[in-house]
Each structure stands twice: as structure tokens, then as C-alpha cells.
């Protein structure tokens, strides 16, 4: 039996054929055992699927689920995208004088491997960094963002726990990192010691207060020192 005929048998079963063609296929099924067997197999699958899908239930509370939607509606911001990606291009910009932090992170599977969880957040929104034009950013939460409790199960997913994993990345990709910062004037003063330090491959560590922050509810205290160098 030709492959085209197999597809036509399927189309016949789905009611997608014109009456004349449908009659031809009905005849084929009557006369050809292979066609009959195929139609039976397709029928079995169709019947199985008619049972419906396994239900998937949200475990977030009504209020919490809605509050996340409402916040974004109120903000009138573009829709968030779940992290879909694979490229590593990450920069952390610091503005010590303002006491603010902004991040733009895309991650690369070659570097991070397959982490168990992904998500997307808007650094600009959460951290209010004035230098970043990107309205949102992808932040991959993986093994280096361990769950901690902040009173809400789902918030807990997004808590930072260890920033130290950032350090080897910055060291290994310093040229790219510097370029990224350079394209974003304001995110880091190009003449600052911070920038020079990063250009020379220096690492920086985020203060513990940030590492304890839940970025959904922003329960963090401004750090006395935004950056300390190794």
C-alpha cells in the first residue's frame, strides 16, 4: 500500500475527505486487508485518546495565582516568556552609588547543562536597575538557586541561594561579558573600578542580603556593600 493511501485512510477516518474520495477509501478498506488493519490500528488509538487526558491540577492558591497575573496586568508590561534557551550571555551590572542591581542573563546549556527547573523574570522590574533597557530578562533557576521557604511554596522556588556559581562564568567569559556591559551604558560606569575589575577578569560576589532575597516578593534589605572583589 502506498504511503499516500495510508494518509488518505487516516483522513477518511477523520472525516477530512470529500465524499467521492471517501467512497474510494471505503472500498479500499473493504478489499485490502492491510488497509483494514491500518484503519483498525488508528481506530484503537483514537478510542484510547477519547478517554481524555490525565488531569493536571494547579496547586497554587487562588489568591496567589491571581496576584501574579494581576501584578503583570497592572504593570502593563509585555508578557513574560519562560526560559526557552540555550545561549550563555550573562552580565551583572552594578551601580554602587545607587545601591541597585540589575541582571541580564541568558544561559547556555553547554555551560549549565540540563538544569531541573527554568523560569523567567524581569530584572528590570524587580531590581529597578536604571541602566537596562531590556524590559525583561531570562533568569534560569537551576541547581544554584535552591529552594528556600519564604512562607510561600512557589516563592520558594525563585529564591536565590548561591551566587558563587556566577564567578567562574565571569572569569571564563570576560571578553563577552565586558562587551555586553559596554553596550549598555549606564548599567556600569565604564570608567569605574568595578568595570576595570570585570574587564580584567575579576569576579564579584553579591552580598548575602541579595542571596537571601525572594525576587517575587522582594523581601530583601539593601546591602551595605553591593560588591566585593576577590
Amino acid at each position: 500500500m502506498k504511503h499516500e493511501d495510508k494518509l488518505r485512510i487516516q483522513a477518511w477516518m477523520d472525516g477530512e475527505l470529500a465524499p467521492k474520495e471517501a467512497a474510494q477509501i471505503a472500498t479500499l478498506i473493504e478489499e485490502n486487508p492491510e488497509a483494514l488493519a491500518l484503519s483498525e490500528e488508528l481506530r484503537v488509538v483514537e478510542n484510547a485518546l477519547h478517554l481524555g487526558e490525565k488531569p493536571a491540577i494547579l496547586d497554587d492558591s487562588r489568591d496567589f495565582y491571581w496576584s501574579q497575573i494581576e501584578r503583570q496586568i497592572d504593570a502593563g508590561e509585555p508578557l513574560p516568556e519562560p526560559y526557552a534557551g540555550d545561549c550563555l550571555d550573562q552580565s551583572f551590572a552594578l551601580d554602587g552609588s545607587r545601591g541597585q542591581l540589575g541582571c541580564h542573563c541568558d544561559f547556555d546549556d553547554e555551560f549549565w547543562g540540563n538544569e531541573p527547573a527554568t523560569s523567567t523574570f524581569r530584572a528590570w522590574h524587580y531590581f529597578g536597575c536604571p541602566g537596562f533597557r531590556d524590559s525583561h530578562w531570562a533568569y534560569r533557576i537551576g541547581e544554584w538557586a535552591r529552594r528556600r521557604e519564604c512562607g510561600n511554596k512557589r516563592h520558594g522556588r525563585y529564591q536565590f541561594s548561591r551566587y558563587s556559581r556566577i564567578t567562574p562564568f565571569i572569569r571564563s567569559r570576560r571578553s563577552k561579558h565586558s562587551a555586553r556591559i559596554h553596550r549598555k551604558p549606564g548599567s556600569l560606569n565604564a570608567k569605574s573600578d568595578n568595570f576595570k575589575h570585570l574587564q580584567s577578569g575579576g569576579a564579584f560576589y553579591l552580598p548575602q542580603t541579595y542571596s537571601q532575597a525572594c525576587i517575587l516578593c522582594l523581601r530583601y534589605q539593601p546591602a551595605p556593600h553591593l560588591v566585593s572583589f576577590s
Binding site: 504511503h3 495510508k6 494518509l7 487516516q10 483522513a11 477523520d14 477530512e16 492491510e34 488493519a37 491500518l38 483498525e40 490500528e41 488508528l42 484503537v44 488509538v45 483514537e46 478510542n47 484510547a48 485518546l49 477519547h50 478517554l51 481524555g52 487526558e53 490525565k54 488531569p55 493536571a56 491540577i57 494547579l58 497554587d60 487562588r62 495565582y65 491571581w66 501574579q68 497575573i69 494581576e70 503583570q72 496586568i73 508578557l79 513574560p80 516568556e81 519562560p82 526560559y83 526557552a84 534557551g85 540555550d86 545561549c87 527547573a117 527554568t118 523560569s119 523567567t120 522556588r157
Partner: protein, 200 residues
């Protein structure tokens, strides 16, 4: 004086009309009523809880932004489900573009072994409990590529016609037919394997 809407007891249409006038509480009620369905659709397509959660919320935000465009030609849930499906498809397309084609993927795309697979006369659904079968189907769906899974979902669960699926997936009707065919055959094959495994 206009009668105040009894939100918890109002039907979807009344809530949608109120929300279209800019009232947020009726929309919140709609979200509450249908959030599981929208999440379930996102999850069935993405097979990842967090992504499904983000996208289902994204669908509700988009729904609000476009609510005035809803003309009541279909049910509100159908309309919302379409939004969710479109978001999922966009997301999956973006992810796919970023992946390098491997030989496996090329094989998968072209139908792979299912093209040459003989027709099985063994019925994998015979004597299987309803819930067990559902669970088996779920397991098998996970193993399908997103293109194959999506055509099955759109056709079998959302009851879309070939041309509607082609439009949603940005491909030809021929491609839809091929994908659907291979998806069904692969599903049949997976169900058979699962059943044989359990019989051992």
C-alpha cells in the same frame, strides 16, 4: 440603576461582558474557574510544570489585554485555550529554533521508524482499566516529539480540523497529515510496548 453582578453565581458570558467593560473582579472569577483547564493544556503541550505555569499565566494576561476582541462566537474557555495554545506553540518554536538538529530529530521529523513499522494487530487497550490506560497514554505522549504531540492534542482534544492545525502550526496540511499519522502510529507502538512490558 444597573443591577450589581453576582460574581460567584454569574455565568461565564455575564462575567466576560463585565470584564470587557474593564471590571477586574469578574475576570478574576473567570481565571479561578478555568485556570486548571488552561494550565492542563499548557502542561500537556510543554510537559514541564514551571513552563506550563508561566505560560498559563501569560495566557490569562494576554486574555485580559485582548478581551475586547472576544466576540462571543465561541465559549470563553475555547477562546482562552486558543490563546494558550498559540503561546505554547510560539514558545516551542522558539525553543526548537535554538536547538541543533540532530540525526535523531531529523529522523523524528520525517516520521522515523513509524514509516516502516508494520501494522500491529495486537490491541494495546484491550482489558486495560480506564485510569491505567489514561496513564499509559500520558506516558506515551511524553515520548512524542512536540510536533507530534501537538498535532495529536489539537486534533484529538481540541477537535481542530487539519487546516486549522496547519494554520496554528505554520505548516502545510500535508505536513499535518504526516505528523498526525506518525504520531498515532508511534502512540500505538508505545502503548503496545508499555502493555507488553507490564505483561512480562
Amino acid at each position: 440603576m444597573a443591577k450589581k453582578l453576582d460574581i460567584p453565581n454569574a455565568d461565564d458570558e455575564a462575567l466576560v461582558r463585565a470584564a470587557q467593560r474593564g471590571a477586574m473582579p469578574p475576570y478574576e472569577e473567570l481565571v479561578h474557574r478555568h485556570r486548571d483547564k488552561i494550565y492542563a493544556r499548557a502542561f500537556s503541550m510543554l510537559r514541564n510544570e514551571e513552563e506550563a505555569l508561566d505560560l498559563s499565566q501569560g495566557a490569562w494576561i494576554k486574555g485580559w489585554q485582548r478581551l475586547k476582541q472576544f466576540k462571543h462566537n465561541s465559549s470563553f474557555t475555547t477562546w482562552m485555550t486558543r490563546i494558550c495554545i498559540n503561546l505554547c506553540l510560539d514558545f516551542l518554536r522558539k525553543r526548537k529554533r535554538k536547538q541543533t538538529d540532530s540525526l535523531d530529530q531529523i529522523e523524528e521529523e520525517s516520521g522515523g521508524v513509524e514509516r516502516r513499522m508494520p501494522v500491529e494487530e495486537f490491541n494495546p487497550t484491550e482489558n486495560v482499566e480506564r485510569e491505567e490506560l489514561r496513564s499509559q497514554i500520558d506516558d506515551a505522549m511524553v515520548k512524542l516529539s512536540y510536533e507530534h504531540r501537538t498535532v495529536l492534542i489539537l486534533h484529538e482534544f481540541e477537535r481542530l480540523e487539519y487546516k486549522e492545525i496547519a494554520k496554528a502550526m505554520h505548516c502545510s496540511i500535508g505536513t499535518v497529515m504526516s505528523r498526525l499519522f506518525y504520531a498515532r502510529r508511534k502512540l500505538a507502538n508505545l502503548l503496545i510496548s508499555l502493555k507488553k512490558e507490564r505483561h512480562k
